[in-house]
């Protein structure tokens, strides 16, 4: 295994962590690798000292409080007995700080993976609710339209009957009832428009979040 392969395996093992955190761990191991190389240790020996990359990843995850499945047991990384001691005279002198750059290490919690069953149920629930909502809104719309038509025809009939001098009292009552029905029709239409908007927005939000989840997954 080469250093690049080792690093790749480590990153694969750290996949539950955020990209930012993984980048920091990669930098840490790159620094370690560079320092060991400078100390005269061969690539093969360094990788032997680092141990199994997957085990290293699991150890870091375990320390970070990540859950590990029982099949992924952490292998103990035994330090190599050949690990060289840094002699004081060979130790690179630590430079005095020129520009202090504070860094804060932040771990993003692992997002819980949703099971396939819960996803299927949420999709079915979403479809059923959408169909019910659309049906309810359409029924309301039909009522509104019916009220408006009946009221309009009643008014037209009343005006015609009044013009021909038919039952004056009856036509006036008819006209009044027609106006009242027009009012109810307008109110129902407004309610219909408002509910259509609510349902439409709800569907849009659900679909957007569903596709975002799919993209992230």
């Amino acid at each position: 295994m080469t250093w690049k392969e080792w690093e790749l395996h480590l990153m694969e093992g750290l996949s539950p962590l955020s990209l930012e955190e993984r980048a920091k761990i990669a930098e840490y191991y790159q620094e370690m690798y560079g320092d060991k190389l400078e100390a005269g240790i061969s690539e093969e020996e360094i990788l032997k000292e680092f141990g199994d990359p997957k085990a290293c990843a699991q150890k870091i995850l375990l320390e970070n409080g990540e859950e590990i499945t029982p099949t992924q047991e952490v292998k103990k990384v035994e330090p190599s007995p050949t690990q060289p001691q840094v002699e004081k005279q060979n130790t690179p002198q630590v430079k005095k700080p020129q520009a202090v750059k504070e860094t804060v290490i932040k771990i993003e919690p692992k997002k819980e993976e949703r099971s396939i069953v819960s996803r299927v149920f949420s999709i079915i629930g979403f479809i059923v609710l959408t169909l019910l909502s659309v049906f309810a809104v359409l029924v309301l719309g039909a009522f509104a339209l019916t009220f408006a038509c009946v009221a309009l025809s009643g008014c037209v009939y009343s005006i015609a009957a009044f013009a021909y001098g038919l039952d004056v009292e009856g036509t006036l009552a008819n006209f009044g009832a027609g106006l009242a029905l027009i009012g109810v029709g307008i109110l129902l239409s407004l309610l219909f428009a408002w509910l259509t908007k609510i349902v439409g927005l709800g569907c849009k939000k659900q679909l957007t979040s569903f596709f975002e989840r799919r993209i992230k997954a």
């Binding site: 560079g34 290293c56 990384v77 330090p79 001691q85 840094v86 130790t91 430079k95």
Partner: protein, 104 residues
């Protein structure tokens, strides 16, 4: 050694390794290895914990064409060492008592 005891001990050891002057990962491991077993994958979470706990600060500096992260102890970190030393003195009394077999 008990895992929890070693975990706490390693934190103080890392702080002690940077007490006199700031240091970096490889040097910390090299300085500690003669006294206590510590690997790269053990050191990383300890450094992260100590940094998030405000016991050390980190800065990155270019070294030989690559980056190296230097760690420096804070007042909180020094206080942690002092706290540990005090606790150890108490442990010593208990340890002597246990060694004597509980006799006065």
């Amino acid at each position: 050694m008990d895992a929890q005891l070693k975990k706490g001990l390693l934190e103080v050891c890392v702080l002690a390794a940077i007490r006199e002057e700031e240091s970096y990962g490889y040097k910390i491991i090299s300085d500690l290895t003669p006294y206590i077993e510590i690997s790269e994958s053990t050191l990383y979470p300890i450094l992260r914990r100590l940094e998030s706990g405000g016991m050390l600060t980190a800065r990155t500096e270019a070294y030989n064409g690559r980056l190296r992260k230097y760690f420096r102890i804070t007042q909180l970190g020094t206080a942690k060492i002092n706290e540990f030393v005090e606790a150890m003195e108490q442990f010593k009394v208990i340890s002597d008592f246990i060694t004597r077999g509980g006799g006065v």
